[in-house]
């Protein structure tokens, strides 16, 4: 996986935003996950079909963070979501 990848959301996964967080429901396993506000924003951009690099560009304008740290964070989150079957590489 690298920054030029895009992800897609499998059909058995549903997500809803409440307040500034996101709750993800995996219908296949019946399990639930929560994303904090930053994770929720990353998720929103992923759903829009942007590459991870483009998501980084967007978020650099929104948060006080270095590109290096942000890239690490987004790759980590994507890997975690992928490992749980909540996203797949498009």
């Amino acid at each position: 996986m690298n920054l030029s990848d895009k992800v897609s959301i499998p059909t058995q996964v549903m997500a809803r935003t409440v307040g500034d967080e996101t709750v993800i429901l995996d219908l296949a396993s019946g399990t639930y996950y929560g994303l904090d506000p930053v994770g929720a924003r990353m998720w929103q951009l992923m759903v829009e079909g942007q590459t991870l690099a483009a998501i980084c560009d967007t978020l650099l304008d929104e948060y006080e963070v270095t590109r290096e740290a942000l890239e690490g964070d987004i790759l980590r989150l994507t890997e975690e979501l992928r490992a749980k079957g909540l996203v797949s590489l498009a």
Binding site: M14, R16, T17, V18, G19, E21, T22, V23, L25, L27, G30, Y32, G34
Partner: protein, 290 residues
């Protein structure tokens, strides 16, 4: 309630050849309910007790007791387990919870079996605070407000709760044969509210580790996850309904009304628990009322 129910004559629970698409079990692994597809509708089996056939739209249910099972047991299963599931198939929102009317406001208690929902509702109702439901919390949006719809006027309690709460002025419904939970009909000793009340507070019941009543707010996302966990849902594979259900719960989770409530599970502590809840519910609804 908008479900047509008929109880049929007893019949043996015939083997079902397909595997259930869903089941409920007790923590010890004992099967409680199996969910089968039957044509376009559903067969709900309570092993050794009864079968219920539910139409595809959830509008009608037929109960088939196992030979030797008494009618009150079947009715009890119907009211507390099958009816909420059938309503969920009609797109209605039904949660595992009890509710009481505090100062005209609906206050709900959600929790898994054994967390004390019924005991708490009964504790209020025997002190004159009217209860709306002891399980199967039915919610409906009316003119932009989420309302609690009253259920049947009875409360079920486990034996130890009965000893602590029951006095002689209560009428006991015929005992049911599958559980030590007896059912009490509302009457002079147990106050029932038969009108819908706006949902103002939801308390998710903790495990009983607290030494004194403790109330903490929940974030909307935490509330949503709890609401999902506490939902009655007949067909967990019907994707369109599930999406709508998730949307309904999301709308509900956005209300600023969710708290975690824990307190020692000691009957002598109940008056203090009631007091803490009443004070909290009234304070909160005053501060959020517009």
């Amino acid at each position: 309630m908008s479900v047509h129910y008929t109880e049929q004559t007893a019949r043996p629970l015939a083997p079902v050849h397909e595997a259930p698409f869903h089941q409920w079990a007790f923590p010890d692994g004992t099967l409680w309910t199996q969910f089968f597809r039957q044509g376009a509708g559903y067969l709900l089996r309570f092993p050794d007790l009864a079968d219920f056939e539910v139409s595809a739209d959830g509008a009608s249910v037929q109960g088939f007791p196992a030979p030797g099972l008494t009618s009150p047991t079947v009715e009890h299963l119907y009211l507390n387990q099958v009816l909420p599931l059938a309503l969920s198939r009609q797109g209605k929102l039904v949660l595992h919870g009890s509710a009481v009317d505090i100062g005209g406001q609906g206050v709900a208690f959600l929790g898994e079996s054994g967390r004390g929902k019924s005991t708490l509702a009964a504790s209020f109702a025997t002190e004159g605070t009217r209860f709306l439901t002891d399980d199967g919390l039915l919610l409906e949006w009316v003119d932009g407000r989420c309302m609690i719809i009253p259920s049947h006027p009875s409360i079920r309690l486990w034996e130890d709760s009965q000893a602590a709460l029951v006095n002689e002025s209560m009428t006991m419904a015929p005992a049911v044969s599958f559980t030590s939970k007896a059912r009490f009909l509302a009457g002079p000793g147990i106050a029932f509210c038969d009108e819908a009340r706006p949902l103002r507070r939801v308390y998710f019941l903790g495990e009983g580790d607290a030494l004194a009543p403790a109330i903490e707010p929940l974030r909307p996302a935490e509330a949503l996850i709890e609401l999902v966990k506490h939902s009655f849902l007949l067909d967990i594979e019907a994707r369109d309904m599930l999406m709508r259900h998730f949307d309904d719960l999301t709308r509900l989770a956005e209300l600023p009304i969710y708290f975690r409530l824990d307190y020692p599970r000691d009957y002598e502590a109940l008056p203090a628990v009631r007091e803490a809840i009443i004070q909290h519910a009234l304070e909160q609804s005053e501060s959020t009322a517009t």
